[in-house]
Amino acid sequence: MAKVRIPQILREVASSLFKRPSTRGYPIVKSIPPEGFRGRQVFHPERCISCGLCARDCPSGAIEMVEVSGKRMPLFHLDRCIFCYLCVENCPRNAITSSTTYEMASLGREGMIMKPNGQPMNKEDNGEVHRS
């Protein structure tokens, strides 16, 4: 029999015994995303000039132009969004800006729709949005 060696990894195991766990206690402890994290977009209707560039550039077809009180504005299907931020980058008027919101889970597809009139995930005001 060869000489019995103590495996290197045992050192590591022994020293870890008295440390706190490496995992985070989500959802009780939420991790704070760094600045510049690509979360849910924020749309500013007052800046929008209805050019439709965001809808044309979106690689996954997540943006639909809809008419809201007489103005064509983007509606975001966040369930299709890949968060590449081409819309944020290519908007000529900065009407779409970034946020670090990452908790977007929803029980249904309609919860993943972000309407142009500000508040996302609002089921009631269906009458105001007319698909073009």
Partner: protein, 557 residues
Amino acid sequence: MASSREDETINTLRERLGQGLLNSWVSRPRRAYVHVRQGSHREAISALLNRFPETTISTITALDLGGEIELNYHLWCDGTVLTVRVTVPKSNPVTETVTDIIPGAALYEREVFDLFGVRFTGHPDLRRLLLSDDWPSGQYPLRKDWSPGAGLPLKAPPSRIGNPDMRDASSIVNVVVGPQHPALHEPERFLFKLDGETVLDVETRIGYVHRGIEKAAESLMFFQNVHLVERICGICNVAHTVCFCQAVEEIGRVEVPPRAECLRVIIAELNRIHSHLLLLGVAGLEVGFETLFQYIWRDRETVLDLVEGLTGNRIMAEYNTIGGVRRDISPSIAQTILREMRNLRKRTSFYREVFESDPTLELRTKGIGRLRRPEALKLCVVGPVARASGVDSDIRRDDPYAAYEDAPFNVPVYDEGDVWARLMVRVDEVAESINLIEYAVENMPSGPFRVRVARRQPEGEALSRVEAPRGELLHYVKSNGSAYPERVKVRTPTLANIISFREMVKGYYVADIPAILVSLDPCFACTDRVALVDADSGRKWICNLRDLRSDRWRKQP
């Protein structure tokens, strides 16, 4: 001086082919093209192999030109990517195989057969590669006259695996593994032919996650395609975007600012570290060493946090774009990167010790799954798999791109060719990547980090190669002068490597299969094509598909 090598390879062909060589040109250093007469490609490739025995094939790109199908054999030959171009008529797409002179081409010919319907006479095993077994015959999705959504009838129920030839001897048992996540969390199917505990042969079937990305790329604009190719593979997403952007930049003659090239090195190497640490952890898991898996993945988190800080997301970096990168590096992130790299270097040297000396790993990986150098060359394997078999190749050094030309780094090469060597290559590469990142952060050139590029690209073609974490990744892009590409061809490293799995696993025990498979670091989502190699070729069929295949397959010798 640089161009003489390209001329030499072309001259070799001119001497041999004479009038058969229709045209030849050198588009840039290390990129040569020859157009040969119909049917002369075989002669051309054997002439190259005679002159340069270490020639390997990267892939075959097929293009539908309308009346004919163009085949581009991309060969890596004496430091040059030589593309041998030949056309076959679309009405009768038959041409000669090259698999007998360069066995590594077997899967690529099958891919072209599957997606374009070109028949290669003399191919030992010309079967479907990527499309599902119940795909209707005579439908070739990458031809231009084919479009999706025509309500394709699925003709046959999910296929049953059956290979009568493998059932002859009574002591031999067939074991089907997969396609539901065998060992790795990706779908692939293996048919192992076992004699007791010993593996005699294996047949692999992939394509379960074939998403038709090459076809989809033709319907998106160039800058949108960056985000599409990023999703070919989650793990090596940066390699795909760098490769695609470089190809488009070459077509559009875009000068990428030096700062962007340096930033690409940083993100590509962070990507490599995260990929290798992932694999090393999974390797621990597969050999029953779960402690190692947990520790390595803990340390991988720091790399993901760095990627998140630099790019805005942990995995999908979305960092590269045509003309540079999308964000600059801030001084605070640069400092964080340097600090974390110092920590990670300590951890890497610890893991190196573990991999070198741990008795569990030694028993499970040393001398297992050997792939010798001659086989590795013959099968044209790439990346860490090739380097572990003594093939000293690395695109970053041999065909430099981005800022790798001036960056100092070593290419670890092992001669053992076993599972252990394939893991050690990756451990050493993590250490090299850490050095590269530190070098890039400290020697960051000033200036802009991107140039704006027009949506429309001029007519042209380009072949781009990068060293992805798993090996050589190749993108071929052809532009027809509009904002949409005419053709995007992707050859992922796993497609080149999976062919060697059969060589590695033969003669070893069933219990070694997971370790051998994982040492290949296969990525099927990435490859979403790949298939089987088998000795008893030509005699296989899948029962339920007789109606789909009958005539064509029976005619095969």
